[in-house]
């Protein structure tokens, strides 16, 4: 075998290294912009090992729990790694990703999507992409894709998501997106998504408490049991929560079913739909659209969850001055926005 000389080999290696760097950077820039991208990019930009509580699940995590608010009231840092209709199957991989960058003392897992049939969720490319296409390129991401794309023959558009997003030429005209080329732009709201509608959705308060149990789909139960096994194996402290929503048929009965499984494995389960009285939650005014809380509802949920965490878990960490200032700034920004919303 005849080899190239050292200079030629060096040129090829440098060229490929530059190409890979540019390719990854361009891929991140071209990804569809929006709240989920900002939230995940913001997560990666947080100082390493500065997050106490990771919150994982679907969109409701970002709308129900306000991290800057919990920081100010209860003194711990938290971050939502949530995406719209996040498949329960994805949770394990999102936890892996989170643990690679942070050393949280508690993982909060929102249970809502466990009631949906995974076969249906698996068919929707968007539900998968919302999660994996906001992750950095890594072997963890490849594992997540392999687990989540069983319905798709061609996985390359997932592995290399620029194959999907290269036509998003519009984002190139947005300087803010260029800054996300290395995922170093923090999300000043710490992932919290503010919903402000309190007029259009009017639901009379109904006590949905039930003692009955209705099984969740088999494939989701399997995912839940697998997740619990994983958490135990890795010795991860986890709290399973159900955020408030307008009642669906059998919703709370299914959550009761999940609660039994979770508690049998020794984890805490907190159904906020049953705590509305203690929280002072008003379904008529604190819900945005039936499925998500608005900012007023979010503050009540955050208050309750924050207190629950400090009362039941030992969260202790020394924060650097930089981290403290950063979180204080986030709270100030949130309050400024909140006050403006209230005035409006």
């Amino acid at each position: 075998m005849n080899l190239m000389n050292k200079k030629e080999a060096a040129k090829i290696i440098i060229f490929l290294a530059i190409f890979i760097f540019l390719f990854i950077s361009v891929s991140y820039i071209m990804r569809t912009n929006g709240d989920t991208k900002d939230r995940f990019a913001g997560f990666y930009a947080e100082e390493r090992d500065s997050i106490d509580v990771l919150m994982i699940g679907s969109s409701t995590v970002a709308t129900s729990f306000c991290s800057p608010y919990m920081w100010n009231r209860y003194g711990f840092t938290s971050y939502p790694m949530s995406s719209n209709s996040q498949r329960p199957k994805a949770i394990k991989y999102v936890i892996e990703e989170g643990l690679h960058y942070q050393s949280p003392q508690l993982i909060v897992i929102e249970m809502r999507t466990f009631i949906a049939d995974d076969n249906e969720l698996a068919k929707d490319e968007g539900h998968i992409r919302e999660t994996v296409d906001n992750m950095k390129y890594s072997l963890r991401r490849i594992r997540a894709i392999n687990a989540l794309t069983e319905e798709f023959d061609d996985k390359w558009p997932f592995y290399l998501d620029i194959i999907k997003y290269h036509s998003n030429i519009g984002v190139l005209a947005k300087p803010a997106e260029w800054k996300k080329f290395d995922f170093s732009v923090k999300d000043k709201k710490k992932g919290f998504q503010i919903f402000t509608n309190r007029e259009t959705f009017r639901l009379e308060t109904t006590d949905t408490y039930s003692e009955e149990r209705v099984a969740i789909p088999d494939n989701q139960e399997e995912v839940l049991r697998d997740l619990l096994k994983y958490l135990k194996e890795k010795d991860i402290e986890a709290l399973f929560v159900v955020s408030p929503r307008a009642s669906l048929e059998d919703y709370d009965k299914m959550m009761n079913y999940c609660q039994d499984i979770v508690e049998d494995e020794g984890f805490e389960f907190l159904n906020l739909n049953y705590k509305y009285d203690e929280m002072g939650f008003d379904y008529r005014y604190d819900i945005e659209d039936g499925a998500h809380t608005n900012v007023w509802g979010a503050l009540k949920c955050s208050d309750y969850l924050g207190k629950y965490i400090v009362d039941n878990y030992s969260i202790d960490r020394e924060y650097s001055k930089k981290v403290i200032k950063d979180w204080d700034d986030s709270y100030d920004l949130f309050m400024q926005m909140y006050n403006e919303i209230k005035e409006e």
Partner: protein, 511 residues
């Protein structure tokens, strides 16, 4: 497996690595294995039987011809050689005809008989699986056996070397049509790794990707939108579609050639150029010397010249000589041979009359009319340089328009539709408004397409004057790499590929 797909790039990388890792002596065997794997991945592997058998018979006949020539018995040498070349050609052409043209005969028979006979029941077309690159490798191996017959090339003793010549995977996509004495010999030579070949080849592949994915795929949207909606688009839009398709065909076909030639360059194999800035041609004749060059030269060498040398043609020429004089007789027989050449050229493009007319006889008529006009007037050279420049520009535009008109038949579904499409040129020269006015593309896409076409034009102008690859290699490394990265990311970002797009298919791939 399309050659602009990611899978192909991975396949190519493995083939490249394997080729240079293996010992020199067996590299050609590896290329043969790679080609067979490529056929297996791209189509049904059973179709490999066609080239295996066709090339087997050609190999046998070529070797027999050589043995007969070298044997002591000279008495019936010519007859026996002729018998063997006939056997090879009949078999090769026979397979091509059955697979590609049997249905053309059936359709024509149905159409004619349907008009003459009342209650005529149409004959069902035959359904065949056609092997990849059939039209390309058939012409290449026919050329080979003729070269052996004429003593231009030596018969290949090793069957597998000839099999590689016929199945070398880049050639199966869309040619070019190659000669054994140039390309066949190179394929089995021992090629050492060459950094220059790697970089030049990769740059050529990149340029091909740009042409196909950025330019051709966008043009195809415009062309398809107009052709598929004849009720909405008339007049000016017919002109846009005709010009658009010519540019689409060029960017697609020449782009695929750039990829094929670039791949071969990486393996140390130099394939013949198939395009040489065809839109700078001042006449149709010149155009065909710059467009699909290898087909033109093959038809000239293996059809036109042999036809002109036949006894029949000699007799025709003699008769015409007595009636019209030597010069005119020469012209007339040449024109007749040209019409035969162009008929076959049209037929080669596909089993449909639209090809026979659009990329066949019409081209012949263009050239013959051009020759007659040229011969009938005194060739005055323009002394005024400016007038000369404008005249050149006019001639180039005229050639482009004439070619675009003929290529409408190429794009049309049938000969009838081609004529009907031409008729629409004279209807409603009004502008279509609203979303339909964008002809399938967004404003950004239009801008990208126009800028990309300008880039192609500038590159073509530079190619007329210099070797761009050599020039690029001599520029400062920072500037060179900036240009290369700009090219790579132009393809990645602006290319039409991935989910939501049809896979980029080469127009000449089905031939």
């Amino acid at each position: 497996m399309g050659i602009t797909s990611l899978y192909f790039l991975i396949f190519l990388f493995i083939a490249f690595a394997g080729y240079y890792i293996l010992p020199l002596k067996i590299r050609w065997m590896f290329l043969l294995v790679v080609s067979i794997v490529y056929i297996g991945l791209s189509a049904n592997l059973i179709l490999l039987l066609y080239p295996v058998i066709t090339i087997g018979i050609t190999w046998f006949c070529a070797n027999r011809i050589e043995i007969i020539r070298e044997s002591a018995k000279k008495d019936d040498e010519q007859r026996r050689c002729k018998m063997h070349i006939c056997l090879a050609v009949i078999f090769d052409v026979g397979v091509l005809f059955v697979l590609k043209y049997a249905n053309m005969g059936i359709y024509t028979y149905n159409a004619v008989a349907g008009r003459i006979i009342r209650g005529f029941e149409s004959t069902e077309p035959l359904r065949f699986l056609v092997p990849m690159g059939l039209s390309f490798y058939t012409l290449s191996i026919i050329g080979y056996v003729f070269d052996v017959y004429y003593g231009i090339a030596k018969a290949e003793k090793n069957y597998f070397k000839l099999l590689l010549f016929g199945t070398y995977f880049p050639l199966l996509v869309s040619g070019p049509i190659v000669r054994y004495k140039e390309t066949g010999i190179q394929l089995t030579k021992e090629h050492r790794f060459d950094y220059k070949n790697l970089t030049y080849g990769a740059q050529r592949i990149l340029w091909g990707f740009f042409k196909v994915l950025v330019v051709s795929e966008r043009l195809s949207v415009v062309v398809n939108t107009i052709f598929d909606d004849p009720d909405t688009y008339n007049g000016m839009y017919i002109v846009i579609a005709a010009f658009g398709f010519t540019l689409q065909l060029y960017s697609n076909f020449s782009g695929s050639m750039d990829i094929v030639l670039g791949i071969s360059k990486i393996f140390g194999i130099e394939l013949p150029e198939n395009f040489r800035q065809p839109f700078f041609s001042e006449t149709i004749q010149e155009f065909w010397q710059r467009w699909h060059i290898t087909l033109g030269s093959w038809l000239r060498d293996y059809i036109m010249y042999p036809v002109l040398r036949t006894n029949t043609f000699s007799r025709i020429k003699d008769r015409l000589k007595t009636k019209y004089g030597k010069k005119k007789a020469n012209h007339m027989t040449t024109y007749l041979a040209m019409l035969i050449l162009w008929f076959i050229a049209g037929l080669w493009h596909g089993g449909a009359w639209k090809y026979v007319w659009g990329v066949g006889l019409l081209q012949g008529i263009y050239i013959i009319v051009g020759e007659i006009i040229k011969n009938s007037r005194n060739n005055k050279k323009d002394s005024d340089k400016t007038a000369g420049r404008y005249l050149v520009l006019f001639k180039r535009l005229r050639t482009f328009v004439l070619i675009s008109v003929s290529f409408v038949f190429f794009r049309a579904d049938s000969l009838t539709q081609g004529f009907a499409f031409g008729g629409k040129l004279f209807k409603r020269w009004s502008i279509v408004t609203g979303e339909a006015g964008k002809i399938g593309l967004s404003s950004v896409d239009w801008m990208i397409m126009i800028v990309s076409l300008l880039v192609m034009l500038i590159v073509s102008i530079l190619q007329q004057k210099t070797d761009i690859t050599e020039r690029l290699a001599k520029t400062n490394i920072v500037l060179r790499w900036c240009i290369l990265f700009a090219g790579i990311f132009a393809v990645i970002i602006l290319g039409n590929y991935g989910p939501g797009y049809d896979a980029a298919e080469f127009i000449y791939q089905g031939f």
